[in-house]
Amino acid sequence: MVDISQPAHLRRAFSIYDKKVRAIIYQAGLAVSLAVIVAAIATQTVSNMRQRGIPLTFDFWNQTAGFQINQTLIPYDTLSSYGQAFWVGVANTLLVSACGIVLATVIGFLIGISRLSNNWIAAKVATSYVEVIRNIPLLLQLLFWYNAVLKPLPAPKASIALPGGIYLNNRGIILPAVEFHAGAGLVGMAIVAAVAFTIAFSAYASGVQKRTGKQLPVLAVGLLLLAGLPLAAYVAAGSPWSFTYPELRGFNFRGGQQIYPEFAALLIGLSVYTASFIAEIVRGGIQAVSKGQTEAAHALGLPQGKTLRLVVVPQAFRIIIPPLTSQYLNLIKNSSLAVFIGYPDLVQVFAGSVLNQTGAAVQVMAITLAVYLVISLITSAAMNAFNLRFALVER
């Protein structure tokens, strides 16, 4: 931009009295002093560590870890490396965060909508839920769930047998393990195809409806496709999977898939807690949509359900999504409280066992911080993209 406040012959190319030049000098000064401080801290840390003989390398990454982790989503045994233990921790953190986000969203929406319900009991129950849960520290809730999950359950030898070869005891829930045989891929492809066809059909149907006003039976066709295609593939491939049922041998069940009580407690605790905040966000979002919108929809003859689905919810979503994002981020970060109930997440495994066995505190903490930052930034970016879609609807 050209400065036209002064005639050309009075303007100087560079002057310390120029507001802009001074601003640049200030900014540069600030940047330099920040850089100097960061550099000083880094050099001091490095030299202190070197003097004390603390290694500042990442050599430990490929060394044998030598400790066991009970819940591993990726291959890991006691001969695996510290690096592999890191990925086990990351995977467990992602698992509990992803499940927690889904569950918290479902519970949160149910409670939030219940608070607005005309049913007096439903509304009061929802209100008490929110007020009780969000006012108790999460750590206490986690410890409560861990003990509430553990205490009443019997030892493995007195397991509660549920239908379908499922057992419940204080070591968790033991499910039959699924074993896939050749041909299982066919069923997988059938599911993908069914989903794709359903989406395509519903797009076609809405096109037809826009042009002619005729409604096609989307729900029936979709259900038929989703159930029929995989079933046909399953029969065609000749039952391509089987179950191995857990059986009690020695101390515990062998075979089968185990859901650990630590995971269950953490998942329930995080979901229930975060849901109480989500419920308030949902309620606030719905209430923020002007009453005139509902009245206008009713005046147009839309029934209650369609009013909610087509008029209120899309507008409420715009208000709900940004604060919902920060609740998701909170849930991910809060999952690090796993360390108190023995769930092997990133903090418990990596910033716990690995840090202590290697002594590489600075490196391990730096990596742990970076991982949470990356997970949070990715979640945030995804939610922002989602938000953008809704924001564009605005006119």
Binding site: A40, N48, G53, I69, L150, G342, G352, S353, L355
Partner: protein, 337 residues
């Protein structure tokens, strides 16, 4: 404003750098208290009572260091640490000395920036199971769920033992030893594994102590000892020779009761130990009476052993390998001369 901030930060950095690198002995003398990191959860070894007063075998070791350095065994500030944080606390200078139930290993001695000063208790890892399981040997533990403290040698030994015996297990790890014990008591695990001293200490505090039994197998060597930061040889010497003073005192029959009479002893070993002859105190950088202060205020090795974990305590641990070398054990103080 920015100039001031930069100045303050610079000064803070300089201050950090200078306090960290002064000798630990001078630091402790200047502060007037010894900061000792210890385990808050092992009865008999180190545990605070309801009034916050710490007692136990390794607590007495810290008191002995304080008696030697500051002339007053009460001038100790105890910092409770779990297994996971203990070495970091020492590395970072938060504590002056680590008196935990930490095992002396080669990697801890070489790669953590810390160094062990000796062994105050020779221990080994064992297993605790419920009597109702009818388990007689650790070899029968195939498939067991095992509660364990994270960041310990226990965690590593378990993996080694089960692998070399072709058995499987499922570890449930907690940072906090209290949480490990609680999980075992509530039935989350079939087995609680730790050093046998910790197992016994935990058992006497359980509600149903008689329902559990410690298996006979000892699967590892666990020499437990105090640790200090590397690069401060004077402080390492103090940590090392405090322990040796207590051992030598037991060997020569010097106790907290008779230490004053013993100063008149004709035995040159005793005279050198108590600083009546020679320059023991001056050589380690302390006063002439430092060893007398240790023995008088805290006691010799046998006294602290018996009152905290031995015959006079609920734990009733035998001296066993922790007897003096001339009584069939491993405890041996180098000569003082």
């Amino acid at each position: 404003m920015r100039k001031i901030m930069t100045g303050v930060l610079g000064a803070a950095l300089a201050a950090c750098a200078s306090t960290v690198w002064a000798g630990t002995l001078d630091n402790v003398k200047a502060k007037g208290t010894l900061t000792c990191g210890t385990n808050p959860a092992t009865a008999g070894f180190s545990v605070p009572d309801n009034d916050g007063k710490w007692t136990g075998f390794v607590v007495d070791y810290c008191r002995a260091v304080a008696a030697g350095v500051l002339g007053d065994a009460t001038k100790v500030k105890f910092i409770p640490l779990n297994a996971k944080d203990r070495f970091t606390a020492l590395q970072s200078g938060e504590i002056d000395i680590l008196a935990h139930n930490a095992t002396w290993t080669s990697s801890r001695d070489t790669s953590l920036g810390i160094i062990f000063a000796g062994t105050y208790f020779y221990d080994g890892q064992g297993f605790m199971v419920r009597k109702s399981e009818n388990i007689k040997s650790a070899k029968d533990l195939d498939g067991a769920s095992i509660c364990v403290s994270q960041g310990t040698t226990t965690e590593l030994n378990l993996a080694d033992y089960f692998r070399s015996n072709g058995m499987t297990f499922s570890a449930v790890g907690f940072a906090d030893e209290e949480a490990v014990i609680k999980a075992y008591e509530e039935g989350r695990c079939d087995v609680f594994s730790a050093d046998t001293s910790s197992l016994n200490a935990a058992r006497i505090r359980m509600d149903n102590a008689d329902d559990s039994v410690v298996l006979p197998e000892i699967i590892s060597k666990e020499p437990l000892g105090p640790a200090v930061r590397q690069g401060d040889d004077q402080w390492l010497n103090i940590a090392k020779w405090t322990l040796n003073v207590m051992l030598a005192a037991e060997e020569f029959g010097v106790t907290s009761k008779n230490v004053d009479e013993m100063k008149n002893s004709d035995n040159p070993n005793i005279r050198r130990l108590l600083g009546v002859e020679g320059s023991f105190g001056k050589d380690v950088g302390l006063g002439e009476t430092w060893s007398q202060d240790i023995i008088k205020q805290v006691g010799n090795y046998s006294e602290i052993f018996e009152r905290s974990i031995g015959k006079e305590s609920p734990l009733k641990i035998e001296r066993g390998v922790n007897a003096l070398w001339n009584a069939g054990g491993l405890q041996y103080a180098p000569p003082i001369r």
